[in-house]
Amino acid sequence: MTYALVDCNSFYASCERVFRPDLKDTPIVVLSNNDGCVVALSKEAKNVGIKMCEPWFKIKNSFANKGGVAFSSNYELYADISARVMQTLEHLAPRIEIYSIDEAFLDLSGVDFCTDLDQFGHECQEKVKRWTGMPVRVGIGPTKTLAKAASYGAKKYTATQGVVDLSKQERQRKLMSIMPVEEIWGVGSRLKAHLNRMGITTALDLADTDTKLIRRRFSIVLERTVMELKGYPCIGLEEHPSTKKEIVVSRTFGKKVTTLESINEAVSDYAARASEKLRREKQYCKVVSVFARTNPFRLQDQQYSNILSCKLSSPTNDTRDILHATKMLSRRVYKKGYNFIKAGVMLSDFYDKDVYQSDFFIPNSRRPKSERLMKTIDKINATGGSRITFAAQGIKKPWSMQRHFQSPKYTTNWNDLLVVK
């Protein structure tokens, strides 16, 4: 077997650069919802001393003085660029597994017979950069775990120019001897302490450990990792993502919320969004949950957190049914006298269309023409122009997120197209 892991370099920050040639060498950070803290940063931002998860208010001034630019997260843009990167990779290898928004495994069986793998890596980099504007690194190895390790090497050592081919054993051993054990895919900091106590500090130490001992002391999962480090493929490619089991839409409020009306509005808005997602998955749900909590970092506040669920008489994906349920639930989750900072909606217990048994005692519990109405709403809302919302979602939305530095939705909204002279 031969696998390649293609990993985007500082994905969110690089997305922000695709339509902004002026930011080529500028330090960039991307902020979390409500512009709270740094969730992604470019290499240049790292070089001026910015770290992941730093609160924005702390670095705001110094970062601007260093010529840095901050963006609120623009998930529409990131999702679109991600899809383009994955589509490009499908041109390069017959089978790919989308591992996360910015990583994919490629099955190179067949490719490895006719092409030099190092050269393939560079071609892959060039093609993705050309087609999508996204810089990537490529790690190649006989197992997925070794491909991941190769990608680590490509990131860590600039001399590799972003491509590391570990198909030869001596190269595997060379890299693993300088790779800390916790950097291995599936190990992490939790197992690090335990392994270190056994004298295992590098990836190579782990690769040379007896697999039976690992199984006895740890688990079959870690045993598989060790096998993979030794070069025996144990983890296959997962091409088809499993269908979702639940959908959660939750947000931190732009400012603290105290009234039932506001909570109700926010929860209704999330419910409408969740229903839309549910319909996109072509699923029907039977269980609806609502949760809300206060801000645990405000020590002076009374703390409260709760989640309540209800089961519907029959599965639905009609926004009106789901709103009806969330309204009832949010009234019960809400408590007077608390400063709420976050709320959310969860849909679960999914059914395919027409799979479920209808309730004998409630004939025709489904609304007539529901499907067509929902389809029409989704279609209108997808145009990017005006939106159809339910009155319960509110109009002013004072609780909504603060995203002061969001870039345009260049690829998903007609009104946000890049303007050229």
């Binding site: 383009r84 050309r130 690829t411 197209l417 303007v419 050229v420 002279k421």
Partner: protein, 142 residues
């Protein structure tokens, strides 16, 4: 081509209609086996976009490309996967922002406007020219 007047359409609220593209004349008697494939509506995307992963839309502001029939407000379809050639219309980075120009490789590399009002921008020997993609179509609406 024969155009038949059917009457005026009501203003505003047009329903979305997919236009079936019939490949065969309608016969009486045995249907053609090809009829199974006919009712596929014409899709402009299919006609204009060759490589969806690498294609972006951008909007034009100004009249610098007017002689290439690219007017103010036109939407350009830009394919990043196409290698730019001499005389390609491209989207290129000029002073930190993207602009639409015609790329000329001869006699000297330059980005030329299609409007005598604007002089061409010459690219020096050691200057880096960043081309984001080749314009494969322009949509002007009237």
């Amino acid at each position: 081509m024969v155009v038949k007047y059917l009457g005026d359409t009501s203003e505003g609220d047009f329903p979305l209609i997919e236009i079936p593209y019939f490949l065969n004349k309608v016969h009486v008697g045995w249907p053609s086996p090809a009829d199974d494939y006919v009712e596929r509506p014409i899709d402009l995307n299919e006609h204009l976009i060759k490589n969806t992963a690498a294609t972006y839309f951008v909007r034009v502001s100004g009249d610098s490309m007017i002689d290439a029939c690219i007017g103010d407000g036109a939407i350009l379809i830009v394919d990043r996967s196409i290698e730019p050639q001499h005389k390609s219309i491209v989207v290129a980075a000029i002073n930190g922002s993207y602009a639409c120009k015609r790329l000329l490789m001869r006699p000297k590399v330059c980005l030329a406007s299609e409007n005598p009002k604007y002089p061409p921008i010459f690219i020096g020997e050691n200057e880096e020219l960043e081309i984001a993609g080749v314009v494969i179509a322009a949509i002007n609406t009237y």
